[in-house]
Structure formats: C-alpha cells, structure tokens
C-alpha cells in the first residue's frame, strides 16, 4: 500500500508548551465553549494543518488515539461516582468519541466521511490501512490525525499503555493530509497489513545497520505520527519498525523534497 503525504502538522507539549485554548480563541477566533482539552488539542492540530494546506470539504477524516479522551472520562467518573454529582450535559456529549471528530471537521470545513477509531496496537498504521482502503474506493483525499492527551495523574495513561512506571508520557497531536495522487506530494508512505517476526525485523536492522535509532517512547501512541512528521521536516527517508509484544509492523517513508 502506498500513500502520498501532501502536508503535515505537529504539536507536542514538550517542544512548545502553549495555552491551546487561548491560542484557538485569539489566533483562530475559534469558539472553544462546551469542549474540553482533548477536543481543543485535536482542533488546534487541525488548524495548524489548515494553515499550511488546502483542505477540501469532501476530504475524509480519520482520528485515532491510544487512550482517547481521558480528560472527560476521568472528570465524569469523578463527578458522578466519587462526588455523587449530576452528569453535566456537555460532559456526556464529549464522552462520545465522535464528538471530537465532529468538532475538528466543523473547525476546518470537512463534510466527508469521518471516523474515530482505535486499534489496541499499531493504531496509527492500522488507521493508514483503513484510510487507504477507503480512499481507494472513494478517490478522495484524507486527513489522518493521531492524538493523545496526558491527564493528571499521568499514571492512568501509563497503566493502559502497558509501559514501565518510570516512562515519561507527553501529550501530542500529529496530522497528515494523504492522497493516492503523487502530484505535489512531499513524502511517500509505504506499508502493509503484514505482521513481521523478529527474524524478519533483524534482517531489516542489519540492512540499515548504521542508521538505526531508538525512538523516544514518551510520545506513546502518537509516536509514529510524530516520527513521520519529523522525518518529513528533515527531508529524511525513514524505515519505522513498530513493536507490540512479539509482533512487528514496518512503515517506510521516502522524502520527495
């Protein structure tokens, strides 16, 4: 499967820690009411992408996350089950996963297909696979968003990620506009649905011996989306090996700039 990246945007909280809600209101004149931090983060990343590229109303939209909107789940759980308070109407609305994708679509004027989806592992590559399978039929372009928000305490996130307690986790959002059309593309992505064994991966590592780097784990589920964007930014080619238990997937990125 081959996809072309037309443009990208990234925001990660350790690189530039900004007040996202304030920025959305001041820079983009965006109405942030009735929303929460997870939605603001998703909308902010989308606005950054829209600053750089043309987004069409019939573009498809795929949003994936490792943990989802932890902010509203925790707030609701605390209010209703710990403090015996009433469920707030907009907390209920924001509990539904597609509320975030609705707000993003509205913010950047997309009226096409819109899917909020999570895979327990390989969620970014699996989202690329389903986006590829869809736009192959529809002949549209798609926007892919990988997002995760760390809440307080960050231990909640670590517990559902399957990571060591000492692992640092950070919030981030990474967007790409993808297409089957190579024209004006800045990078090419190649991937498949195959699960590779460790032996097959070792062969890849030997072949790429002098360039192998370990990625930072702190960006967790958005890590691959982040690394794709970083490689494009540096005009690098990249082979990314993602691992879950004893299963591996490979994604290849080729810079076209």
């Amino acid at each position: 499967m081959k996809l072309y990246i037309k443009n990208f945007s990234s925001y990660v909280s350790d690189k530039e820690d900004i007040d996202i809600k304030k920025t959305l209101k001041q820079k983009y004149k965006y109405d942030t009411r009735r929303q929460d931090s997870f939605i603001h983060l998703a909308v902010y990343g989308a606005k950054l992408l829209q600053d750089k590229t043309d987004i069409k109303s019939d573009d498809e939209f795929y949003l994936t996350s490792g943990v989802g909107n932890i902010d509203v789940v925790q707030r609701t759980n605390t209010a209703v089950y710990e403090n015996n308070e009433q469920l707030k109407l907009f907390d209920f609305i924001n509990l539904l996963g597609n509320t975030t994708s609705y707000y993003v679509a509205s913010a950047i004027g997309i009226k096409g297909k819109n899917i909020f989806q999570i895979s327990n592992n390989f969620t970014y590559i699996n989202t690329l696979i389903s986006a590829y399978a869809s736009i192959r039929n529809s002949k549209k372009d798609a926007i892919v968003c990988a997002i995760d928000l760390v809440n307080e305490p960050d231990e909640v996130t670590k517990r559902v990620l399957g990571v060591d307690e000492s692992c640092e986790v950070l919030s981030g959002v990474n967007y790409q506009k993808i297409s089957l059309d190579r024209e004006d593309a800045i990078a090419e992505l190649e991937f498949d649905a195959k699960i590779y064994s460790l032996e097959e991966i070792k062969a890849q590592l030997v072949y790429n011996d002098n360039k192998v780097q370990m990625c930072e784990t702190k960006r967790f589920e958005t890590m691959l989306g982040y690394n794709v964007n970083q490689a494009i930014n540096r005009c690098d080619d990249m082979v990314f090996v993602e691992c879950f238990e004893d299963k591996y997937k490979i994604l290849r990125l080729k810079s076209l700039r």
Binding site: V73, A105, N137
Partner: protein
C-alpha cells in the same frame, strides 16, 4: 463494490438470540422493560458493564459466526467492532490511581476499547487486524462499510463486523438530560412521538467474497449536520447520504424494494428523515422501523438492525412499524402490517449523533 457477500449473522437483544428475536418481531410481542426506572429494552439476563462480562457475551456471539469461516481462511479474518460504550479499561485505571483511597500498586497492561476485538482475534485464532470504531449511532454500520473496504483492497478475506452496546446509567442519564427519552414507546414517524427508548444489544455479521444470498452492494458515510446533536429538519444531510449511496451502487430510487429507516422516534430526527425520504422516493415507498421492537441500540444498531432485518426477509416478511398511528407527513407512512417479501434491494439508513450519517444498500437475490 463488487461481490461482498453477507455470510452469517447473529445477535443478542432484548428478545434473545436472532431466531428468538425474529419470532417475537413476527408475533409483535412486547419486549420493552425498565432499567433504573426508565423504559429500556434490556437483555433477559443483565450484562453488567465490566470487561470480563462484556467479553464473555461477545465470545459466545462470535463463536457461532466463526464456524462459517473455512479453517484455512481464519488467519485472513479481521474483526471490526462498532460501539459507543465507555472504555472500562480506562475507568479501571482511573479508579486504581486517581483517588487516594482506592489506589492500588502499579501494574500496567496495554488495553483500549479495542481490547475486546483483539481478544476475539486471539481466542479464535483469526488474523491480526482489528479496529474499534466509535461514531455513535452509526458505529457498527460504519464497521460494516469499512469491512467491505478491507476485503476489496485485500487486507482481509473475511471480516466479522460487530455491534456492541450494553446498558449504561451514564448513557441513559445523558439522553434523559437531552430530553430525548420517551416514557412509553418509541413511536417513529408518528405525530404523537415523544422520544426514543434505549436498548442494549450485541450483533455480529460475517462478510466475505464467498457466494451467498445476501450481498452488501455498497453505501456512503459522512459527517455533516447543522448541530452536534441532530441533522436539520429539511433532511438535506440525509438526502445527501441516500443519494450518494444510490450513486455508488449505480441504483435509482425505483430499484429500492424497501427502506429500513433509522427512525429513532425523536422529534427532530424523524422529521428530517421522513422529509429526506419524500425528497428522494415517490409516495408509497415501503419503509419501516425496527427500534419499536428492540430499542435504540446506539453503536450496535447498525449491525443488529441489519441482521434482524435480513432474518425477517429470510422469513418472508418486512416487519411493520409499531406505534405509528398517524404519520407526520402525508403520503409517507411506514408500513402498517407485516408485508410479504422474500428478496429485493434494501436501503438501511442511520442518521446519528455527532453528524455521522450512513446509508447502506443490501440485496437478497430471490
């Protein structure tokens, strides 16, 4: 979309399994009950919201479906789950460390709402691809459309599309706060309708290229609505998905034998939907609603209502729409009595919360 066939289906609803529910629909038996003092279509035996109980129920459901997959194709089978339930793994993690008095020692395991699908893949020795989709009322209908895309591009040869919705006090409370719940019955398209009635259900549909009587001809899905909670009264957004679904399948409105409407019984959604039907189809078109039988099963409704609708056609009838005495639109009334039908081309519509709308078109060869 060429040659995507429906090879098997199973549900668990307030009426029991697929055969039991079909019989109750056929006999127009009352299946409504109560949970926490409000009208609700409940499983006979409650499934409490925790991971183990939900997974066990899914496992029993999928066990029947898996037998229809050839042994040598199991590794080419994916699972797509559509649901709007809260991620209980996340709730457990919150309870384990966010409140001092409940705190437990640190332990960590990769989990997500997709863990159910992953466990099903592992337990039944299927392939590796799973995905869980949350687009509210359209979740499992979208899973079915995504399933056909995955087969078409060769990612999987078979896909089990699952719909999952289990009773949640938060969900019931949320819908109540939005003043969308009826105290009595859902009365789709009726002048006296006063809201929807929620229900719980599980459903699974197996799709693949192997020949069978039922085909998924195609469909169209998008996200477009005036507000986050409902589509506009004119039905513009519904017309768009209906017309695009017809275009995708190279069909005209006259080719459609009957429509399974979304038909929640809510004031605004029903008005938009019937206006859309009237703008695309001629007066007298057959359309019906299943929610008065099994409730609005939110994320599960896509797969569950299609499975039940197919079972009715296989049994020789289009089910009547209960509780609609006087339609809100002259000339467009859902069918009043079960209507004899053994096959044809059927449109199944879902117009959901958060602007997610989808229209799927199925065919049963006579």
């Amino acid at each position: 979309m060429a040659d995507i066939h429906i090879l098997g289906s199973e549900i668990l609803s307030c009426g029991g399994n697929l055969i039991q529910t079909l019989q109750k629909v056929k006999n127009q038996e009352e299946m409504l009950s109560f949970r926490d003092g409000i009208s609700f279509y409940s499983f006979e035996k409650h499934i409490e919201q925790n991971q183990k109980n939900i997974y066990n129920a899914l496992r029993q459901l999928v066990a029947n479906i898996v037998t229809k997959i050839p042994q040598n194709k199991k590794k080419s089978t994916a699972v797509l789950l559509g649901t709007s339930i809260i991620d209980w793994y996340l709730v457990d993690a919150i309870n384990s460390c966010a409140y001092e008095y409940k705190k437990t020692s640190y332990s960590s395991q990769k989990t997500s709402i997709d863990s159910y699908a992953q466990e099903l893949l592992s337990e039944f020795e299927l392939g590796s691809f799973s995905m869980s989709i949350n687009t509210a009322c359209t979740s499992s209908a979208n899973a079915l459309l995504e399933a056909s895309n995955l087969i078409e591009c060769g990612v999987a040869e078979y896909v089990i599309a699952i719909g999952l919705e289990v009773y949640s006090p938060l969900m019931s409370d949320g819908f109540s706060k939005m003043e969308l719940i009826s105290d009595t019955h859902a009365k789709p398209f009726d002048k006296n309708r006063d809201g929807l009635v929620l229900g719980e259900a599980l459903g699974a549909i197996l799709v693949g290229r192997e020949d069978s009587a039922w085909s998924l001809l195609g469909g169209f899905s998008n996200c477009n609505s005036a507000t986050i909670t409902s589509v506009g009264a004119s039905g513009d957004e519904c017309v768009e998905v209906i017309e695009e679904a017809l275009k995708k399948t190279a069909l005209t409105p006259k080719d459609i034998t009957a429509i399974k409407a979304h038909a929640t019984g809510s004031l605004s959604n029903d008005e938009a939907e019937i206006n859309a039907i009237s703008r695309v189809f001629e007066s007298g078109v057959d359309f019906t609603a299943l929610k008065p039988y099994i409730g609005h099963t939110i994320g599960a409704s896509g797969v569950v209502e299609i499975a039940l609708f197919m079972a009715c056609i296989d049994d020789g009838f289009i089910p009547k729409t209960m509780f609609c005495d006087e339609s809100i639109l002259d000339g467009y009334k859902p069918i009043k009595e079960h209507k004899s039908c053994n096959g044809g081309i059927f449109m199944c519509n879902y117009f959901g919360f958060g602007g997610n709308n989808i229209s799927l078109i199925l065919e049963k060869k006579i």
